[in-house]
Amino acid sequence: MVETGHFALVLAFALSLVQTLVPLIGARTGNQRLMAVGGPVTVTGFALTALSFAALAGAYASSDFSVASVWENSHSLQPLIYKITGTWGNHEGSMLLWVLILTFFGALVAVFGSNLPATLRANVLAVQGAIGATFFLFILATSNPFIRLNPAPIEGRDLNPVLQDLGLAIHPPLLYLGYVGFSICFSFSVAALIEGRIDASWARWVRPWTLVAWMFLTGGIAMGSYWAYYELGWGGFWFWDPVENASFMPWLAGTALLHSAIVMEKRSALKIWTLLLAILTFSLSLLGTFLVRSGVLTSVHAFATDPTRGIFILCILTLFIGGSLALFALRASRLTAGGLFHPISREGALVLNNLFLTTATATVLVGTLYPLAVEALSAGKISVGAPFFNLTFGPLMVPLLILVPFGPLLAWKRGDLYAVAQRLMAAFAAALVAMLVTGLFVNGASVFAALGVGLACWLVCGALTDLAVKSGFGNVSPAIMLRRFAGLPRSVFGTALAHLGLGLTTLGIVGTLCFGTEKILSMHAGESVELSGHTLRFEGLYPAQGPNYSEDRGRFSLIGADGGIAAEITSAKRFFPVRQTTTTESGIETIGFSQLYLSLGDQGTDGSVVVRLWWKPLVTLIWGGGLVMMAGAAMSLFDRRLRVGAPSRRRKQPAAMPSAGVP
C-alpha cells in the first residue's frame, strides 16, 4: 500500500507536468483539443494525490514503522485519532497535505469551470499545474514521506506531545485550505496576464475563490490561536511569533483582495491593483510556507531543519514570485484602466481600506524578516517581538477600524459623507455611552480600555446600522422593513456579519488585555486563592495514567457564592516517556464569555506547587468573532450573484448599478 502511494505520487508529478504544458500550448495555438486535456488531467492528478495521501494516512493508522516518517512521528500506544492526525503533524506529511489541497482546488476549477472561457480555463489549470509540479518535485526530492526503513523498528518515536491534541486535526487542514486556496486567485491573475485581458467577469470568478480561501484562513488562524492559548499553557492568544505572522500576512493581504475585488466586479475599477494583490497574497502564502518549512526562523513551529529544503523552497519562491511579478511588469500596461470615482465614495473607502491593510501587511513583513536581514549582514542577532508590532501595527489598525462602519453605507461613485455620518449617529452615541460607562463605572479601567470598548461597540453597532439602513429603517413601516430585510442580498448580510465579527474580536482583545488579571503563587493542598472575585481552592495533586503518558493532575474547585463547589477545574503536568518530554495541560473554566485559566508549574520540595492563574474577561469573543467572520464569508458565498453556474439576473435592489458605467 505504501509503495502504491509512492507510485501514485510520482504519477501525480508526471501528470502535473502534462497539466502545465499541454493546456498552455493549446491556449497559445488555439487548439481546442489540447486545451481540453487540462480538465481530466487535473482531476486525475487530484485522485492520485488523494490515493497517495490515503496510503500515508493508512501507514500512520496501522503504525507501520517500516516507513521512516511513521517511525519518527508515531507510537503504537497513541490513540487512533492522533495516529491519523500525525500524518500531517510532521514536515513530509504536511507537505503532502499541502499538494493534496492544491490539486483539490485545481480539480474544483476543472469540474466547475465549464462556463469559463476555454483559454482562461486552460491557462488557469496550467499555472495551477506548474505550482503543483514544483511542490511534487520538492516532496519527491527532499521530503519523501514514503521512504522505508530496513530493518523495520519495532516501536515508533512518538508524535511531538504538544501536537497530541485535537487542534492538530483541525488547525493545519483549515490553514492550508486558506493558504493554498489563494493559489486559485494567483492562477487566475497569471492567466489573465498571459492572455493580456481582464474584465468584470474575471472578478466575478475570482471573488468566490477569494472568499473561500479567506474564510478557511480566518478559521485556521482563529483555531491556531485558540490551540496555542490552551495548549502551551502561557495563557496568551497571539505571540507575534514568525510562524503566526506567516499566516497573518496572507490574511491581511487576502482581506485587502476581498475588498478590492468588490470594486473590480461592481465598478470595473482597480483592475490592475486587484491583479497585483492576488499575486502578492499567494506570494505571501508561499513565503509563509518557506518560513515555516525551512527553519530559518526560531519558532515553536520549527520542525526538523534541513538546509537543502530551505534552498529548494527559496527557488520555488523566486520562480513564482519573481516570474509572476515580471509578467505583471510586462503585461500590466496592456490591461485597460477602469471607471473613475470621487474620493468620497464606496470605491474611495475600499481604496483606503486597501491602503491601510497593505501597509499593515508590510509592517508585519518587515518585523518578521528584519531579524533575518540583520543576521545575514552579520550585524548581530536581534528579535522583534510584541513591542514592535504593538507600536506599528496598532496605530494602523485603529483608524482603519474607526473607518469600517462608513464604507458599506457610502454610495458607489460619489458618496455623501454628511448623510452617512447622520445615519451613524445612533452607533456613535452607543459607542460613546459604552466608553463612558466603561471609563466611569468599571474598576481599574484606563483611558485606553474605555476607548477600546467604545471602538468595539462602534464596530458592532455600525454593522447593525448598515443592515437597518439598507432595510429602510425609519423610512418605511415595520412590515415593509421586515420584508426588505429578508430580501436583502446575502452579500449585504455577509459584509455586516464580517464587520460585526471584527467588532467582537476587538472587544475580546480589549477585554482580555485591559481587564485581565493574573496571579502566580505557590499553593499547598487545601489553600484558597481569590482572583477578580472568583475563589479557587486547590484540592491537591493526583497521579493518573494515560495511554502513552503519565500525569499529575492538580484539582481545583471554584467556590460559588453559596460556599459550595460551583465547578471543578483540572490542570495537569503530563510526562511522555518516549520523548522524555513534559507538557502542561491548562485548566479552563468558561464563565459567560470570560474564562478562568490556570496552569501548573513546578512542584516544590515541601509538597507545594506553583500555580499561575488568569482571569480573562471576554476572551472567548476573540475566536467567536472569527467564527462570525467565517459565517459572513459563507453568507456572501451563497449570494445568488456569486453562485457558480447561476444564470446572471439583474438584481432588483436599487443600489445596483450597471458595471460598465464610466462618468
Binding site: 508590510a362 548581530g380 542577532k381 517581538g385 505557590s522 518530554t581
Partner: protein, 146 residues
C-alpha cells in the same frame, strides 16, 4: 481640480501615508528590537542596565535555586562565562539543567539579569537555534548526528 491634479493629490496622499508608516517602522525597530547576546559577548558589548536584551546559553548545572513563591534563580553559561538570572513565573516545560535557554529582560544595577520571560523553544535536540549557532561559533558544541 482637473483629473490630473486629482490623481496627483491621491498619489501624494498615499505616499505621505506610506512615508509616515515607514518612519514609524524604523522608529519602532530602533526602539523595540532586542539584541541577542551570549554571556561571553557581554564583556565586549556595552549593555546598559535597564536595556532590554535576550540572553541565551545553557542552564549551568547545579545553579537552579527555587526561592520564595515562584521565583527561580539560575545561571546561564556559554562555558566561558556565566551570568546569574532571576525569574519569577512558571518555567517552560522544556527548561532543564545543561539545556539551551533564551531569557529576555534586562540587567539590574547589581549585575543580575532580571528576566521576564524564559523560552526553551527548541528543535528535537533541545537547543534553541540562536544558542546552537552561538555555541558552535565558540567551538563549544558540535551538532550531533543523532
Amino acid at each position: 481640480m482637473t483629473r490630473k491634479q486629482k490623481r496627483l493629490s491621491v498619489i501624494i496622499g498615499g505616499l505621505a501615508f506610506l512615508g509616515a508608516a515607514t518612519g514609524l517602522i524604523f522608529y519602532a525597530l530602533g526602539q523595540k528590537a532586542s539584541y541577542f547576546y551570549m554571556p561571553a559577548d557581554l564583556t565586549t558589548a556595552s549593555v546598559q542596565p535597564g536595556q532590554r536584551i535576550r540572553l541565551g546559553g545553557l542552564v549551568e548545572k547545579g545553579t537552579v535555586v527555587r526561592g520564595e513563591g515562584a521565583t527561580v534563580a539560575f545561571s546561564v553559561t556559554d562555558t566561558h562565562k556565566s551570568v546569574k538570572v532571576i525569574y519569577t513565573g512558571i518555567l517552560p516545560d522544556l527548561f532543564r539543567e545543561e539545556q539551551g535557554v533564551i531569557t529576555e529582560g534586562s540587567f539590574g544595577a547589581d549585575g543580575v539579569f532580571v528576566a521576564d520571560s524564559v523560552l526553551a523553544k527548541h528543535d528535537e535536540r533541545y537547543m534553541p537555534k540562536e544558542v546552537a549557532d552561538g555555541l558552535k561559533a565558540k567551538g563549544v558544541w558540535q551538532e550531533s548526528t543523532n
